[in-house]
Symmetry: D2
Subunit: 370 residues, 4 copies
């Protein structure tokens, strides 16, 4: 089977590198286009990028020429792929991603720029694949076939994986979450070592706000042309700790319906919404419960399910709400590049990568982003 | 003025070392006796102890002979001091501390062994110095003049310092706290480096239980011969992080009475219950508020007030309870040796170190520990 | 092809765990026996062992019963495998390994106990596979077919891999090496976090001595029944740093023959002594040179060649000797379990695992260890 | 006694902050002027600076207005102090420091820009205070009374403190040094946490070159108008490790004259060249030997002598050269701000701060820097 051609926007950053790592030998997708800022464009990728991962940079990728960040024809007249993974900062994304969508591309974005916009789906496939229907309400879709799909903030993904099966069975009324987040979440150079060695920084700009609102949208429901947010109070405390990869989160939750320990464990272990879809990046078991008293731990558990599973542990009663537990997930795999890749796989599986570049006329919605 | 002679039980451990450091050149107390387990007894302290602090071990202390852990006359017939700082593990403390109390000593203990016992005061001088009256209900006090006084767990002290002024003015109804605790809290050798480098361990044995119950006693009120616990729900999540010293805690709190931001800041800044007592170890300002968005941080703030102040920051509204903030304090100074030392100072100031070794006959209470 | 049955002595420790990880799905070997100290014997492995690796403990292994540390028939009368990987501390190894050799086992040891003994080969297959001939001089070999083979200290392996191709072409006259070693080299619990967080410990017991003498034996030559040590001066400085895995070493070396930069790089890139042997654990390229100015680095390079390659970099002239460079290798894979496993593979390939348990009568040497 | 007014160039950086910390309550000097780049000039210091030290920013300093980086009259017509501590990057220093010297200031610089210039003294007061005579050969000195004095790189200072007493008694012929340097040496933001958490970076730009040449000048001798470099071969390996403060260095050294262990220890313990000068910042004992097998260690020993002493340990024979040992010093106190401050104190003590701002006509040398 021929692999679909894909491109990466923001290819030299930390998330861009993860895209390259995860797409290497991917059965469905093949990287044919890499773009980055003007500083890098025109150079060989191996020269433009300070590769920071512990698997080797594939030689083929190293030799590719970095293209400029525009949806126009690339050097040599090669067509730009219609499937674009975007690993851009929010400010840049705000300007660039719509251009690619308008050019007929499926922009599968890791940026926060459009996550909370009304007609943009914010999706974790195991949690709310149905939200992808919002695509059809995007003006670009009608005009060029293109669209933007987003995945949540790295700190929200592990959390909603753990919460979704509980929400389905017991309903969530309110929740605390206190995070201990890895430095890779801030990109490169990101957090200065002088700030974090032997230290904790109890602040990450906009992170608590993002978590609180994204959880509401992710666990919300499609109501015609928009998402009705989950009606639950969420209070987040976000902290940076000296960990390379893996966000650990302490959660207390109050349910609408009484739940026993056994029912909660069953909800997690039976949670397999993608089973049967055979998506290459989907973990066998999206939420793994560990029975040890001191797990999950980022260094030991972040790579479960090839970095795509969330690990939960320490389920116990909460004196204040109902139950408390700890959840952990890999912030640059499950929480960023892997999240977007899984979005691409569900888009492919549901036929939404087939009609790119051609006006669909299908949508009746308005261009929210215009 | 002649300094009172004091001894240290468990002198070679991490908290024992902090006692030595903090008592060096103390204006009121002089170390004349150091005891440790049989393995160390008989050796010079400098040889028995693997000194781990970054100030030099005082030469005079290094030359002292470590005594056995018993309240009998020490080597050479020197009398054992009547003021004993105890830095023992709970299991050892359970056996040894009562012997010293029975021998007429004021046992100023950092151990958890007797903290929750009915007639043993659990005290942070700024918070509940009045609880020291419980001493008079101890059987030892009547029989020998001796008694046991305890300070709380290292994770509870910073928290109650921040909460006390709020409890006084607004009343606390419920509270969520998630900690990020330093490795020194586990003593030496304590946490293996393989467990904590680049990692988080979301579990500390018994820590959540201790925090939850100790906060209740510390913020409770003397009712005759016992403490009536604070009627508030407390939910704690305790985590170990790769920080050497300083416990950082994320707190959400619900008050009984509405409080504005200004009122909370005023409560903290006006909190100075020990002013005028001139205790050498008491910080000028027990609770310092930092206005920066990303403070407090353990490496930068743990030494405020010579390691005795708690730093609060990030006061903001909580979507679930009323307010949230971060509090930080030094876990082996404010949270252990300094806490006990301040207890000794308030005991001295209130005359409770003057009648040791002689039966008082004063108590009508029962020996709870017998 | 049926896999050979193997056992692991010291199976619950850090190196024992690595053996289990590396032997999982090994094409030639199958774990059928796990032994550990009395504390663990009789328990299921999954219960006896605190698994510390970031890949899951295989379920089949978790269910195996830990056997006692003796070469007698194990529980249920199952025969003990004749191929024994030994991951024991030196003191225990000194007593146990000879018993297994005497029982006809090939003891493939990671311990330092017998490395410098005259008739025991100290082997890194790429460096001195010929030293395996020493096996035939061991008394056990003659009597039972059993023998002991060792691999070097974790700090010596990467170094000799880098040095061997240089020694072959230019001869080594003297050398300076300063190490920065990972905490996993000390096992578990090993280095206390209070000793190493934000710190360097410039001392590892016996490490400098081991490095200095082991390099001499590894680069030495078989002379009849013993090894003639390499005639070179070696000065080692060994340090522990806050790194989880991967030993980094700064090397200055003086050659007997002038060498250019190009010749050195060629020596490394052409070094492939095991090519054609198809050993499953042998890295394609045992010594990889990285051209970046700031490499190798433990976190980025330790997993090259599945953790079995040494990475060199920063080749530059030395103002004092001839050349200097940096070498890095994974200390618990290449430097311990992987080293022993590769020794087992070369033993298998050269027929030395075929005659176990039967007297060979072949040796004329003496029992050095008796 | 009235304190001399001093200014700080580059006041908001890490070294600038250390100057402020160390000059707080200094008996001889008082900060009356703070300058920084245009980005900060005009703001209150407390606002312009992200204070990163663990002692509080003095309120008086926080309120001072940051001045522009020029030697012209500052705001309000206040005269710029004639004593200027310069904490600038080399590129900026190259342009700015000469302007201040030309304006009659004593520029006491921590930058590398002019260290190796012929008529600029590179001084550690305990090591080569005599080199200060070079000042009189500077053209500025003759014309305005101003001059530039420098201190060495943070990695060279501890080393030359340890070497100087050995050089005096035994002569140094050659030397290896392998460093493990703290992240604070790179300033702020400096080393990204993603590069150094759980990692070692075996490269610091230009550091090996600086160490090698600066050691030669520091241990050299004044010959008329220049310094004759020490005739010794020095080979340096420089590494960055995850330590906040304190550079640890492994040294092997060959002497011109045989030295016993006792003679070396005596050379260190008797080394007190500043005794009797009563310089406020000079440590009682510039080189402290620690007898423990595993010392010095950065976290435990960097604050000896208030951060101004070098600690040596692990003295043992070297199989390649003569002796080896470990030396440690605080890189931003002894290695930067404290070094410059001690230079200022020796300049004051020797009358060289008295004739600033007036042409001396004394020098016959040429303006090397013009």
């Amino acid at each position: 089977m021929e692999r679909r051609r894909v491109g990466i926007l923001g290819a030299t950053g930390m998330v861009g590198q993860r895209f390259i790592q995860l797409l290497h030998n991917h059965p469905w997708f093949e990287i044919t286009w890499l773009a980055a800022s003007d500083r890098s464009a025109g150079k060989a990728y191996g020269e433009a990028c300070k590769w920071k991962l512990d698997t080797p940079l594939p030689a083929k990728i190293a030799a590719m020429t970095v293209q400029p960040n525009t949806p126009e024809l690339c050097e040599g007249g090669l067509p730009i792929p219609k499937i674009i993974f975007a690993a851009l900062g929010a400010d840049i994304a705000r300007g660039l991603e719509p251009k690619f969508a308008a050019a007929g591309c499926a922009v599968i974005s890791n940026s926060s720029a459009f996550r909370m916009v009304k007609d943009v789906p914010l999706v974790v496939p195991e949690v709310n694949a149905g939200h992808l229907d919002l695509i059809e309400t995007q003006a670009w879709r009608r005009e060029s076939g293109g669209y933007i799909v987003t995945n949540p903030n790295c700190s929200a993904i592990g959390l909603v994986l753990a919460l979704k099966p509980l929400e389905e069975r017991f309903g969530i009324e309110s929740m605390f979450v206190s995070t201990m987040q890895a430095v890779s979440g801030a990109g490169y150079p990101g957090v200065p070592s002088l700030d974090i060695l032997g230290n904790v920084v109890p602040f990450i700009k906009n992170e608590e706000e993002k978590m609180q609102e994204e959880v509401g949208k992710l666990l919300g429901h499609v109501r015609g042309d928009h998402i009705e947010m989950l009606d639950a109070k969420v209070s987040a405390h976000c902290n940076r700790v000296p960990v390379e990869d893996g966000h650990t989160e302490c959660v207390s939750v109050k349910f609408r319906k009484k739940a026993t320990r056994e029912e909660i464990l069953a909800a997690w272990s039976e949670f397999a919404p993608l089973r049967g879809q055979h998506l290459p990046t989907a973990p066998e078991q999206p939420v793994e419960f560990d029975t040890a008293v001191d797990r999950p731990q980022p260094r030991l558990d972040r790579m479960r399910g090839n970095g795509m599973a969330a690990t939960v542990g320490r389920l116990r009663e909460c004196p204040l709400l109902d139950w408390k537990f700890v959840v952990l997930s890999h912030n640059t795999i499950r929480g960023a590049a892997g999240a977007a890749l899984l979005n691409a796989e569900i888009l492919a599986r549901t036929g939404r990568l087939d009609k790119l570049g051609v006006p669909t006329g299908a949508t009746q919605g308005q261009a929210v982003l215009a």
